[in-house]
Amino acid sequence: MSEELLQIGDRIVAQARAGEQVEVVVGRSTSTEVRVYEGNVEQLASATSAGIGVRVIAGNRQGFAYAGSLDPDVMAETLAEARDNATFATDDEWLGLAEPDGVAVPDLDLYREDLAKVSTESKIDLAVELEKAVRAADRRITGVEAADYADGLSEGAVVTTSGIRTASRDSSCYVSTYCVAQDGDDTQTGFGFSVGRMPEDLDVAAAADDASRRATRLLGATQPRSGRVTVVFDPYVTAQFLGIIGSTLSGEAVLKGRSLFADRLGEEVAAAAFTLIDDATNPLAYSAGETDGEGLASRRNVLIDGGRLQRFVHNAYTARRSGTASTANAVRGFSSTPSVGCRALSLAPGTDLQPELLKAVGDGVLVSSVSGLHSGVNPVSGDFSTGAEGLRISSGELADPLREFTIASTLQRMLADVAAVGADIEWLPMRAAGVSLVVHDLTVSGA
């Protein structure tokens, strides 16, 4: 199947003119999304999408164009547009496509052909079962706004004049739900999900329990008083935090003077408990992939080791300009040029599960979810402030629920204030894995 995409790439790359570097990224995907409400299918969407992105580098100038179509006339227009766009860009000696670097593309077994054969009825049944399970989980669950099943099969190919010719494909599916719990006048919400590569991987009961537990345990929540406290992040929150830390370690941010850690390579930037790894070759990671956005083989990169900053992540351009090699961290779809980003982050786990971590903390706050990460966190200045909800930790146990507060610090301080990493690694439908994380000395703002 992917051979067809490679051949589309071949045909366009063959049109490269003398002195011109051409890269073609071809993508194709099919997806199904089911949403169930009150026992009936509310929405059922099925779709096939395809498209190409063409990058042309000529005379040290780069141009790009994409099209959400594999029609021959549209593809021809796309190459011409990319070529024309290149003439207006600034001359940059570091520009260039990725080149084969001898790292073999791993076989991660991420694709399940059989997903395409799963009947729509059985997908609907999963969502119906999920909704039922959420409603049955607790009598205080009064509504299930969404009970969804979704899946996708996607394949991609990268072909370049520099000798890259790689393809990758993967399949994934998930169920997710969002529910409302009520007790008297009080309303709280919770979400739960389960991810896999085939429907049989999905744990519907666990997703339902998570959603119900998240919503019901917040019932009766009050606003805490302001003060400085030790915070325990639930795994899902840690994953979001790691995503932000990852963005500060981008080779592009470093080159352009937008990274907090630009001059800190080799130095202690975090507590000793903090070892951060980016590894898209881990098949457990939802975002695992055999190649990066420029067609290089994925690889494991240790970014922070025992608190010490080991490396930044790079694509071909930022690596060349920094005098190093690409770490296979080009991130993109067919509709954009490759940027630099972490692909599958995780922390090296500690030895304790959350209950032991809570005991060690004694008094503090468990943060079960955060909001406004895009509006109150500035990865350039390091300012960190998010909305939060969670539970008070009192004498080492979870106590009363808390809402409508913020937690604040700076990214630099939070890394240094990490006290412990949990043993409860959880692979989530995002580019980072979750794990419980204990951080000292955050400011809680409330009443």
Binding site: V41, A45, A65, G68, N85, V180, R258, S375, S385
Partner: protein, 462 residues
């Protein structure tokens, strides 16, 4: 884009399995962009997205399929896929008779696709030069330009066929400044539903200067306070507050599923009597403006809250149909690959009598938010956050020291009641992208200067 006779046959095919309602949404979107960063024109890009989404509604079930293949065969295949999801008793139509609704698209003075690429590049360079000339502390500048022309065609089994031609143009400048306390950022953006004449109305040099000033000011910023304080929000971009505090909660899909704190409250006092909130897709050239929504309904001006009383929710085809309601022109979607939902357009708070000076002078101690970032809301609980990207302390009724960035948190219904001053200096804010259920659409918002008597400020200072 597609011949009317083909559309009529495709709608017929979509209803073959017994659906109650079918719709074809076709879109042809061309976009161009340019990005300058680190002193270089890094990239000019061009994009083309063309396709159609077909939905079929049968009872409470919506079937949807989309295709990039606009041939009759491609559309028929999508119609069948959408119809399969909505299996009923078997329908009886072969074609649907269509009546064209004529509307006037927002006028475009100068078509961006007819402007030389070199002219667009020059804008980026001018912004870069100006921002960098604001002082040695300016360490990095990025600028981006974007335009898009989105032609849409909507037809449905009620016999409607309508089209719109939407052109939007956008310009953004981002600056990094560095000083003793580390790095700070500044950002300014402009965007309107218009063509290249955007740059007759605004000078990119002004944007660049303001973005640089914002970053430089923040180098002197102290940690924001932590805790509940009176908060004055400046004119313009403060509209994000209402977008989050009540806008999302007034979308009929949340209401029908009873996951909004505003469900069942029409006719009730839900806000301070100073508050009148309007959602208006007709404001000339604004970022969230269009002639028809993505279901073919003409844009409208809808009063949501009048003098504190909740007057109505916002509606799309599906939710209005269910309750036998009139459409409000709020059915929008990101692209032909998405189902429409209830979405805001341009949401704003209207003027009252106070001058901004009076409002600040009347605030002994608090925080003045000059520019907001984005926000987020949980419609079921009403708790929401929004970011302050440029803010100052208010001490003894005067705006004093700049503050570092952070989020503010509040509860929508409570905050609406705590608005105790509204100014007379209304202005629309910068262009925004509203995200909901994974779809982004362009929206506008605006406010005059206003005060909330107490909001929790999420800083680190005691």
């Amino acid at each position: 884009m597609i011949e009317e006779a083909v559309v009529s046959r495709v709608l017929g095919a979509a209803l073959k399995t017994g659906g109650d309602f079918a719709e074809v949404f076709a879109e042809d979107k061309r976009s161009s962009s340019g990005r300058l960063d680190d002193g270089k024109i890094e990239e000019l890009g061009s994009g083309r997205d063309r396709g159609a989404g077909i939905r079929v509604v049968a009872g409470d079930t919506t079937g949807f399929a989309h295709t990039a293949d606009l041939s009759e065969a491609g559309l028929m295949a999508a119609a069948e896929a959408a119809g399969a999801a909505a299996r009923g008793g078997g329908g009886g139509v072969n074609t649907v008779a269509l009546t064209r609704r004529s509307v006037t698209s927002q006028p475009v003075g100068e078509r961006p696709e007819e402007v030389a690429k070199a002219t667009k590049v020059e804008l980026l360079q001018r912004a870069n030069d100006t921002a960098r000339s604001q002082g040695n502390a300016i360490k990095q500048v990025s600028a981006s330009y974007g335009d898009s022309r989105r032609q849409i065609l909507v037809a449905n089994s009620d016999g409607l066929i309508a089209a719109d031609d939407q052109t939007r143009t956008l310009f953004v400048v981002g600056v990094v400044a560095s000083g003793d306390t580390g790095m700070q950022t500044g950002r300014r953006s402009i965007g309107h539903t218009m063509g290249f004449e955007l740059f007759d109305r605004y000078q990119v040099e002004d944007l660049a200067r303001e973005a640089a000033e914002q970053a430089l000011t923040k180098l002197k910023a102290r940690p924001a306070p932590s805790g509940a304080l009176p908060v004055v929000i400046g004119k313009g971009g403060g509209g994000v507050l209402f977008h989050e505090a009540c806008g999302h909660g007034l979308e009929a899909d949340h209401i029908q599923k009873n996951v909004s704190v505003f469900a069942g409250r029409v006719g009730q006092l839900v806000a301070s009597p100073l508050v009148t909130i309007v959602d208006d897709g007709t404001v000339a050239n604004e970022w969230g403006t269009f002639a028809i929504d993505d279901e073919g309904t003409p844009a409208q001006r809808n009063v949501l809250i009048e003098d504190g009383v909740l007057t109505d929710y916002m509606w799309d085809q599906l939710r209005a149909r269910k309750e036998g309601r009139k459409l409000s022109g709020n059915g929008r979607r990101q692209s032909y690959k998405h189902l429409p939902m209830v979405r805001m357009t341009n949401t704003y708070l209207t003027n009252r009598d106070s001058t901004p000076e009076e409002i600040v002078a009347d605030t002994p101690n608090g925080v003045y938010v000059a520019h907001l970032g984005g926000g987020q809301v949980n419609t079921a609980t009403g708790d929401f956050v929004f970011g302050m990207t440029e803010a100052y302390l208010i001490e003894d009724g005067k705006i004093t020291e700049p503050l570092r960035e952070g989020n503010l948190i509040g509860n929508g219904p409570k905050v609406l009641e705590m608005i105790d001053a509204v100014g007379n200096d209304f202005e629309m804010g910068p262009p925004g992208t509203c995200g909901k259920d994974g779809q982004g659409v362009p929206v506008g918002d605006g406010v005059p200067t206003l005060r909330v008597s107490s909001l929790t400020v999420g800083g680190t200072a005691a």
